[in-house]
Amino acid sequence: MSEPKSCTLFDKIWDSHVIERFSDGTCLLYIDRHLVHEVTSPQAFEGLRMARRRVRRPDLTIAVIDHNVPTSNRQAGIAEEDSRIQIETLERNCRDFGVPFIPVLDVRQGIVHIIGPELGISLPGSTIVCGDSHTSTHGALGALAFGIGTSEVEHVLATQTLLQKPAKNMKVEVKGSLPFGTYAKDLVLAIIGKIGTAGGTGHVIEYAGEAVRSLDMAGRMTVCNMSIEAGARAGLIAPDETTFDWIKGRPCAPKAEAWDEAVRYWRTLASDPGAHYDKIVQLDATEIAPLVTWGTSPETVLPINGSVPDPDEAGDDGRRAQMRRMLDYMGLAPGTRMQDIRVDVVFIGSCTNSRIEDLRAAAAVAKGRKVAPDVRAMVVPGSGLVKQQAEVEGLDRIFTEAGFEWREAGCSMCLGMNPDRLSAGQRCASTSNRNFEGRQGPGGRTHLLSPAMAAAAAIHGRLTDVRQMA
């Protein structure tokens, strides 16, 4: 008898969802959870209508509004006409096709990648898709979760399946524990800095090692969220007691005997000893310092006590030209100390860092202090439920007394699709995930960092080493 094959977590989830394997390796893959939002779905529903197709499994689908929605004065409705049309279109599509929908004024409304896990919709061992690249977030629960385009959204709505080829396996192993003043955000920025923005292309990244195991669920979601910034469509962390404790009791999670059965199955998911990885990368968490980006690509990370690099020291002409372009866009001179860079705006929020744990970390820094004059600082909880919890804990008062704006849940200033935007030349310390040119508004300049570092930047009006604020 042959030995059973050693499988990775990815292999196990993949294999259990293959309906049909075609001769060229393409698989028809079953999808357990389909999350839908207003921006990438209208054309998919339009396609269904034109072909007279229905949504095959509305009971495995859920829709919410997050990208376009304003984060203040919600009762007044949506002022921007095209945003309003997109939102009304999703409402109508959900009604027509019988898809569960969370309305804007519902307390459960929030960023799709916050509410999926929060409501117990995202479960270990599942396949989860959404027309949004940060779907990788849900991999923190041990689910295979990845972003898809609108044609694929339509395909899933119509068939509850996708045609896909299996990704390659990559393992990122982080030993040691994170030092004082560093967080999951620093960990994932360090990983992206090491492997680059295309380092994970074609792969699913499984995060492992002591530093990953000891992260709480919020931290794990932050890490998996930014897998796409390393080019990987999905990130995964094996489910363990931390995962099970976090999911138990959530509204859509299995209950009673079903729960016990579920956990029994979920315990079998971790990668087998000796499983094969196509690529293995190792990092030492103890060497990580609080990080911040200096350029317009998430791989351009530096420790907060570093200085802006000099393009003249770049290895090749291509890289030199790229660095010059970035520095020009960012309005930075080589050699500038990162801690001397002044900021105009501080944004604490996004699917990367808007969970209650993120808000607690920021509040711990903000408590009893004041936002620097001329700095606009905003805190945008990831969901109505996160907001509610923060208010129970009094975090909202800590923020407002310090001079932060306390806003309603949504994608907000992560992507400049709603009224929260940078104007040209404004510089922002942001807990979001992308520092691309124009990402937070045309001409806006973004420095990515952790929530605690963002709060520190708000207080001092410049990028600041949060370790000095203890």
Partner: protein, 206 residues
């Protein structure tokens, strides 16, 4: 979907690496409920200044490249957001083929669903094509999906790899939902098997 078989056209050289989908189409233009009409905002911030006037230095604002149907770019084209609007904007502008040393995964997938052919060629070959493209009006490049060949204006041929299934769909202009629905009974039996195996798996309730 429009078929892609063989295309002989002008190519625009876009000598940039890591062209992200925010650069291809900024988020503020995603508030549409249609697929068409995004071409005017393709590469919006590279193409127009603050006063919405064309930047003459940008390749697609120059003759003859305004009529380009092929785009040649550098590594990791289409990284970042999953927005299919990036592909729609390219197609709406008139681009039918992007040639680059590497593509980000989601963009690569999205292209095939819209009759846009992404061609991966080694960097030195992309550089040759970029050089040739810069010669302008008569420097036509041919992309032959049937033969899996890109030919330079001088007739030099570079072959490229492509997934046979995707090639087939593109050559025939086929919609893959229709293809998948042919397996409807297999999907049903999979669902039944899952229900038996994982009775605990809950539906979503809102």
């Amino acid at each position: 979907m429009e078929k892609f078989t063989r295309l002989t056209a002008l190519a625009a050289p876009l000598d940039l690496a890591n062209v992200d989908t925010d650069k291809i189409i900024p988020a503020r233009f995603l508030k549409t409920i249609k697929r068409s009409g995004l071409g005017i905002h393709l590469f919006d911030t590279l193409r127009y200044n603050e006063n919405e006037q064309e930047r003459p230095e940008f390749v697609l604002n120059q003759e003859p490249f305004r009529g380009a149907q092929i785009l040649i770019a550098d590594e990791n084209f289409g990284c970042g957001s999953s927005r299919e609007h990036a592909v729609w904007a390219l197609v709406d502008f008139g681009i039918r083929c992007v040639i680059a040393p590497s593509f980000a995964d989601i963009f690569y997938n999205n292209s095939f669903k819209n009759g846009l052919l992404p061609v991966r060629l080694p960097r030195p070959q992309c550089e040759k094509l970029m050089q040739a493209a810069r010669m302008g009006a008569n420097a036509r490049i041919t992309v032959d999906l049937e033969r899996q060949i890109v030919s330079t204006p001088r007739g030099e041929e570079f072959s490229f790899d492509i997934d046979p299934f995707r090639r087939h769909l593109l050559l025939e202009g086929l919609d893959d939902i229709g293809q998948t629905l042919q397996h409807a009974s297999r999907i049903e039996s999979y669902e039944a098997a899952r229900r038996a195996r994982e009775r605990w798996y809950p539906p979503i309730t809102a």
